[in-house]
Symmetry: C2
Subunit: 250 residues, 2 copies
Amino acid sequence: MAKIKCVFSYDGTHFSGLQTQPHVRTVQGELEKALTKIHKGTHIPVYPSGRTDRGVHAKAQTAHFEPVFQLSPIEWKRALNSMLPADIFVAETAEVPASFHARFDVVEKEYRYYILNETEPDVFRRNYLFHFPHQLDVTRMQEAGHYLEGTHDFTTFASAKADIKGGRVRTLYDVSCQQDGGEIVIIVRGDGFLYNMVRIIAGTLLDSGRGRLEPSSIADMLAQKDRRFGGDTLPPQGLYLWQVTYDDTF
Amino acid sequence: MAKIKCVFSYDGTHFSGLQTQPHVRTVQGELEKALTKIHKGTHIPVYPSGRTDRGVHAKAQTAHFEPVFQLSPIEWKRALNSMLPADIFVAETAEVPASFHARFDVVEKEYRYYILNETEPDVFRRNYLFHFPHQLDVTRMQEAGHYLEGTHDFTTFASAKADIKGGRVRTLYDVSCQQDGGEIVIIVRGDGFLYNMVRIIAGTLLDSGRGRLEPSSIADMLAQKDRRFGGDTLPPQGLYLWQVTYDDTF
């Protein structure tokens, strides 16, 4: 039977994260519930590219599943969207080779962290950006970001709870900061991310932007390999899993 | 004691409308709860410029209240925001003459209705715009809007449940339609609005935009003075009370 890859967005506000857990509402749980309904009760597992935490959003998360009966990709898209709640939307579906795995075949992920840098909060965006009312220097944040690019041990920038299986060395291809009016976005692209890594990077760049941290001290922080030297973990509502990239063969 | 005017925004998603009602969460209820806390239990009523329905937002609603103890306007702003939930924000506070009344002294209100006119929905904006996936001709919508400008009996464009005390004649100063990418906004300014009037106007302009209604037939619809001739009532999440204007003396 065909293997289906699907790309979907979700508003993380009302989910207890991505991963299926008993008794709570999760994104994976809702996807599996939809597939189970379509399959008249047969449970079909969904394999996502990775987890996201409670309150974290996804612009383009990716997963695969192996349905028991045959529908075309566009029919899968329609069937899933007709069953899913309004805070998940399947944007793309495609048939992939049996060898494809949404988690193991990832070659790059992009995360974005959105900051509303205005004096006053915005009630309409409170769940979609992190509100920081004090002045930020985006040039300094950008400079700090450059020190994180490349291959490093990111222990300083990962939750102490992060799984150490597979080590803590990751490669960041690009860390950039852009400002558009009162909105600042931190864009991070890499081959993989440790637990809370983007939120801690965002917290560290924020310290740089507000003048508490010299951008050049990032190199020392990395060398410490100790979470206590990293910045705060910023709250989840500013974070988006933006893009998951696979090899061209998929 | 001073009378305080305050301008506030709210995300209507999780409110059962503006007006205080028993056993449900309302905007006025939350404001009065905050004022009561500040007054150590003394109930202070809040007088808004008018009601908004369940799910309807406000960018700048206005209300007044008469506190029992004295704070400067900026202290009132801080005190209220420190007590209010995250989906209400007081943006401005000012001392006004004792003769001021937030409802009776309104000279103009502006409402905006936001439509997401893209093929696919946006999970992040589902509570903040009305998603309409079919093609709309904004020029036709704008043309239809012009027929509503001026002084008319708006019975056709009001809920049959609308209070008829004070009649159904209102003056619309401006009805305009603007497009910005996939976003269409209908802006309506007038001296007063009947129950559901903006949502029915938006539904009628939508009929025009999708080619179901000739803009010029709006004149006949008005002349019928019968709700059955008006368009559908669009859902609340696209609607924003955008601005309330008072006489210069306030």
